[in-house]
Symmetry: C3
Subunit: 212 residues, 3 copies
């Protein structure tokens, strides 16, 4: 298994984790199998779809429909196996896999936008963040949950933004290196997310609005 197919399969694990966490988030609201599956698929595929719409390229799941199948099957399994998947230890594992997924997809998106020469250096960062958080935003809007832009008790947007900025800056100033900054940026996002999950970190108080 070479480097590219390793990335590809880690990506598929990330898609599955997105779908699992998406379905688990809405199950308490009494959804049915079909509704839960659509929510899971939107969570898993929504961010990349928004990116591709803005870029004007064919959406990624129309080229490789394995993405659809993985999101579909993971959502369906979650509906039936919710008692297993919502167990504290398994759910925590899913959160880490979700963190790995968001790290990978955000940086892949920055790279894809950069390769298309689409408004660097700032547009790649914007679309990297959109790719990372878009699916979760769609899920939260459709399920009536407070979304991650409006809640400051979880560190999600911050790691993604910092990782995308770091990678974009390195592509701008150090274009001769390509993989090393990518791997470092993925690692930055993932470790930051993992620390936030592990120690239940929120955004520092000084960065939270206190207007009431």
């Amino acid at each position: 298994m070479n480097y590219d197919s390793l990335i590809y399969w880690i990506g598929m694990i990330g898609i599955a984790a997105f779908a699992v966490t998406g379905v688990l988030a809405v199950l308490p609201k009494g959804v049915d199998l079909f509704g839960a599956t659509v929510i899971g698929m939107l969570t898993a595929l929504g961010g990349g779809t928004l990116r591709d719409l803005v870029l004007g390229v064919p959406v990624f799941w129309s080229i490789d429909s394995l993405y659809i199948w993985v999101a579909l099957v993971a959502s369906g399994i979650t509906f039936w196996a919710k008692h297993v998947l919502s167990r504290a230890d398994i759910f925590r594992l899913m959160l880490y896999l979700d963190g790995l997924g968001v790290a990978l997809f955000s940086i892949q998106a920055v790279s894809k936008v950069w390769d298309l020469d689409y408004g660097p250096p700032v547009t790649p960062v914007v679309l990297g963040v959109v790719t990372g958080i878009g699916g979760g935003l769609i899920r939260d809007v459709l399920s009536g949950r407070p979304n991650l832009l409006m809640t400051s008790h979880e560190l999600y947007l911050t790691p993604v933004t910092l990782g995308c900025v770091l990678y974009s800056v390195s592509l701008h100033y150090l274009p001769q290196f390509e993989s090393v900054p990518a791997i470092l940026s993925v690692a930055l996002i993932f470790c930051f997310r993992a620390a936030a999950i592990r120690w239940n970190l929120g955004v520092p108080k000084c960065l939270v609005s206190d207007v009431k």
Copy 2:
């Protein structure tokens, strides 16, 4: 009147029914004429617009602006004639026309996506469902109503999904027939929806999440 123009005019009736049910859904919230009209148009045209955005083709109402006019006029009439249109028997008729519309548009969308050879056999199903339910989702998000993904007391998503799967499977395995499976799939969705409206059917309990 030939077969194609029959389909075309049934489609226009479906657009009008979407707009009417869309406006009636938000009227109790105290909207004004302009807001109600925008909601009605988004309900009627939203699903097909999402489909065309993903496909990267010009949106259907930019090519034939009669779609805009029908949605606009139907929304405006509904605002003024709400006392007539919200009468139980007329509203029920509108629900059936809405069911006919969603049946027609979902299968038309599968067919359109298939003709563009856009990721068959699974992408056409996804975009058929998006076309069928997209407008209603946009309406519910904007009007703050619980949307059809999160409520299991109405059968809407299920008929649309089954019809799109049936048609896509038939196009895959029986490509020599074209119109017959299309008509059967439209009939399946419509009859399923009509039965759900007539007998007030919900999703079977075994397919509804009981995590509380």
Copy 3:
């Protein structure tokens, strides 16, 4: 400074005002710096992005990333300078600048869609309105506020719609004049909005649904 660059810089002021009002609208909900900035950018850039997605052209901020920077910096400043910017007189100034921005962008959008010959005369009006109100709708959906389609106590949609209709009608029947109807339409929207802000005008009762 010639006419075009005057328009360009007024547009930038409008983008900044959109971002400021967007961030001020969500600050009471206890957002953090990153969330507020994303909301501010979506408010400022969302409407034009929707328009460009429907038109199938590259989004405006990918061609000129100054739009992103202005929205980003204005959002960030608002977060830190909220006590100054939410003062009654400054906030009122921001509302007027927001009105100027919406007037300018709606009419610019009609003009852009018309130049692309994209379904005139009705599609330009639709996309003009989408450009004007899209960003605000996205903000309100993400922040859980009632959006301007569902509230009739503020005149926002009405002026924008009337201005876009007026400009589209004049382009259709009086194509030999170009700038004069544009300026008149911008003035119509702005004066109408300014009057609504100044005297706190709502939609007339006869145009508001009384179904309860």
